[in-house]
Point group: C2
Chain length 144, copies 2
């Protein structure tokens, strides 16, 4: 899927949920799109400032929060960063592996693996926040 198609799909996704992918939000999404792996909010802020001359933290955080809420991005708490979510339109159990060294992202389909986890959680009445599990660690090529 090329960039234009992706943005179109993202826009339709938002609208189908009763929200608007405004110009600012799309601009932020495009900036995230530019980066291969994990993106930091203040990196996006710097990019945004280069493009429009002025921007403050809340501007970026509001847009990022919106995109996370729509399922277009995932927050990687361990790294204080954000990553793109492919598959925002087909909800499934994903396992997202983020390398702490190179920032690379790898996605596994972990539906099978996660079912026993969610079973265990369900038994104690616990509802996990996100359907996609984001883990940090070290990828194969960074093992040293």
């Amino acid at each position: 899927m090329d960039k234009t198609a992706y943005l179109d799909a993202a826009r339709r996704h938002c609208e189908s949920r009763g929200c608007r992918l405004t110009e600012l939000r799309q601009q932020v999404l495009e900036l995230v799109l530019e980066h291969p792996g994990v993106v930091k909010a203040y990196q996006v802020l710097a990019d945004l400032q280069r493009q429009r001359g002025a921007a403050a933290p809340p501007t970026v955080y509001r847009a990022l929060d919106f995109l996370v809420e729509q399922g277009l991005l995932h927050k990687v708490d361990a790294l204080n960063g954000f990553i793109l979510c492919h598959h925002f339109d087909c909800p499934h159990d994903g396992l997202i592996l983020v390398c702490e060294r190179c920032g690379g992202v790898e996605e596994l389909d972990a539906t099978g693996c996660l079912s026993s986890l969610t079973d265990a959680m369900g038994k104690v009445g616990f509802t996990p926040r996100a359907q996609n599990l984001v883990l940090t660690g070290t990828c194969r090529s960074c093992q040293a």
Copy 2:
């Protein structure tokens, strides 16, 4: 296990690993112990300042990092906080559930559940950072 016994066990645990649970480190551990669930670094800092009059962030962070390294605490990235680890002496795959609303913590033994996860990760050469998986969500009593 009461507090004194716990601290003794913690001390022996550190010493068996060639480290010392110094007075400061124990003091920080006790402060964490005071709180039922998730504790924030700056909360510990404030407590510490009340007890000894002066303390700076590095003092607290160094102690907390040490305790995490020894396995006595876990860091909860999603909440920028720390929680106690019971079972620091019997290494096993734990699943730690943190409620976003009440801050409560629940630990499951998830050895079985996690094996399929680690299998899947191993297949792509990925090494997860921590052996304990920390998830956030909503606990039974906070489901509302």
